[in-house]
Amino acid sequence: MRVALNDVSVRFGQVLAVDRVSLAIEPGEIHALVGENGAGKSTLMNMLFGLVIPTGGTITIDGVPRRWASPQDAIGAGLGMVHQHFMLQESMSVLENIVLCAEPVGRFGFVDFAEARARVGAIARTHGIGVDLDRPLGRLSVGERQAVEILKVLYREADLLILDEPTAVLTPQEKSRLFDALRSFRAAGKAIVLITHKLDEVMEIADRVSVMRAGRLVASSPLADTTREEIGRGIVGGDLPAPRTRKAQEPGDVILSVDALTVARRGRDVGPISFKLRAGEIVGIAGVSGNGQAELVRALTGLEPLRSGSVRLCGERIDSLDVERRRRLGMSYIPEDRQRMGLALGASVSENANAGRDDRAAYAAGPFLKHRALARFARSLIDNYRIRVAGPRAAAATMSGGNKQKLVVGRELTRGTPLVIAENPTWGVDIGAIDFIHGELMRMRDAGHAILLISTELDEVIALSDRILVMYAGEISGEVAGGEASRDRVGALMTARASDAFGEVA
């Protein structure tokens, strides 16, 4: 099946999200679609998949123009999509998840589960994907969930698979199993579109690469005809930022000291965890999402009580203090979820910039806020952190993801506290903003602050950290010095026991 997009455009209000893009996707080919966040990759694919209706251009399949009003039409035409945020039902079994929306039915509309099991089993065997069909989805690891998503698409007999950032949540080992599966699909003559922003992956597996920037297709060629540098330049519209250099410095006093900390969690407690963080160093906490990092952060910041153990900040016990007291003692926190935890989206930029600061004499007169002082501070953040927004009075919701994150980072870092806890600080922001945020964290480190960086982005942890602690199954499974960290070494610690979502290809 040969799918072609011809001059397709889509407009959201004033913004031309996709601007006259033409693209051909051939069977038996892995086609990488790369670009920064917001470049229009996902929108383009959502259009192909019927989730977004194009405002111009045509889609043809084997030369025949097609037009669909909903994903149902696209699925019927043989397209399948593995979304970045999994589209799964937690409480259902693997089998129920796979057949949902295309259930084989017997009498009275009841689902024929025997038939479903036979069909799904056959597909899984063909491509060497092993998942227990009767397990509830809620108990599956992220890698296994992705296998379920892929089985869903295959079950519906898709000839074109679109995978949106499929490796973002996988360990290196899981990633290589996924790629084995993708190669098996390619051998079976299926067309595969791989949306990604990781150049390593493009170089490893793609046959053809297309680059998008600001809604436009800036390049499309066979991988053999291009280079890594050329693709990188296409993505950012210039040269890639140079690798970061770090100032050699001896760590200073212990700022954060965690001793035998445990946190309650459904199933199995997190911990015991012990480590020390000194002034002037970045300690990275790596691990696959869901291995206790979130609980650790919540316990450190005071969002959740400890079960046992102790936490000291600059020598003082803080484990029974509330969030406000901890922040006053010298803790700042860049939360993973800027939409819910980091910002109040309905409030203005100025109000958000000053949250947690409004009790100081400079910003408040008794119970009343000094709005002019607040706006002045917000303006200085906007300028210094290069936040693109209409002004201090604009609602926080009007900013793009990267600018929202810069506002949170700016607000927290300008507090100048000895300890900064940064949780996935660059999640879902574009390359420019990533580079900026990394620079700011490094600058804080060089200025003698202690940074705890929790990230599921392995490259980020390796690039920034002086020391790396790896979390697995609620405990620290190992420590690696920043200088000697390699992806494979850290990756092995991330999966003390590797999961088997993608088995050997038969």
Binding site: P71, E90, G109, V111, D269
Partner: protein, 304 residues
Amino acid sequence: MLDLLLDPSFAASVPRFVTPILLAALGGALCERAGVFNIALEGFLLTGAFAAVLGAYFSGSPYLGALAAMAAGMALGLVFAEFNLRRGGDSIVVSIAINLLAAGLTTFLLRAIFDVTGAFSDPAIAGFGTVRLPFIEAVPGLGPILSGQSVLFYISVACVPLLHLFLARHRLGLRIRAAGENAEALRAGGVNPRGVQLLALVACGALCGLGGAQLSIANVNLFVENMSAGRGWIAVVAVLLTGGRPWPLFFIALLFGAVDSLSFRVQGLGLAQQFTDMMPYLATLIVLVTLSWWRAKRAKGDAS
């Protein structure tokens, strides 16, 4: 008091109190599982009770009365869907509007159609008789309770395993659960979750309508203003307590129905009516508190 609980006529009265609560709760369960926050069960129930009298009076058949009740409930389900699903109205606001509408409309229609206020009773209202189950009747103890109830009771009980099976294994049941849990995934799979939710609302209306028919044309044949008297709200509580799972719902409905029945009985003991009227709600509160205490304890136990 103990005499009262052991009195066979008390036990035999429980099913007719259980029926409307159970039917409304099963309807509410469909909405809950489909991700529609429907707290208009009270309004659905009341409208059903009125429509049942209307149908039974003019047709002379309790079955047509029950059908009219189901139709009225389904119509309200459509109203709910129009304002909540299509026009994006908040489900709590829509629910409150429907509850107020049902109370006002039935009072108004009572006057407009039957020219009475407060209550309408007439020999021409054809009510459901009782169904005698010859073999079961002979079973000592349970027999007299299970036999001799209205056909609606048997329907409501049969609906429990049917709904369970439907949700677990039917195509639409699967989709209803998906709509309630991750509607976006359903949409990405090519099924419009709103269509699924609409069907759940209409089915909920039909079940609540039947529940209303039990109130007005089974056992007693009359309509009284606001005769649902909070049973729809108790059904809402039952749904929320059980997460809309049919079997737990059945047992909660049994309990609430029994307390409801008991509250009528103890009036005979000389307790103030204001107090006895409180009993179902008191029981609801106690169950709520006990269950959440027990769940909290279990969650802690899990963690350690």
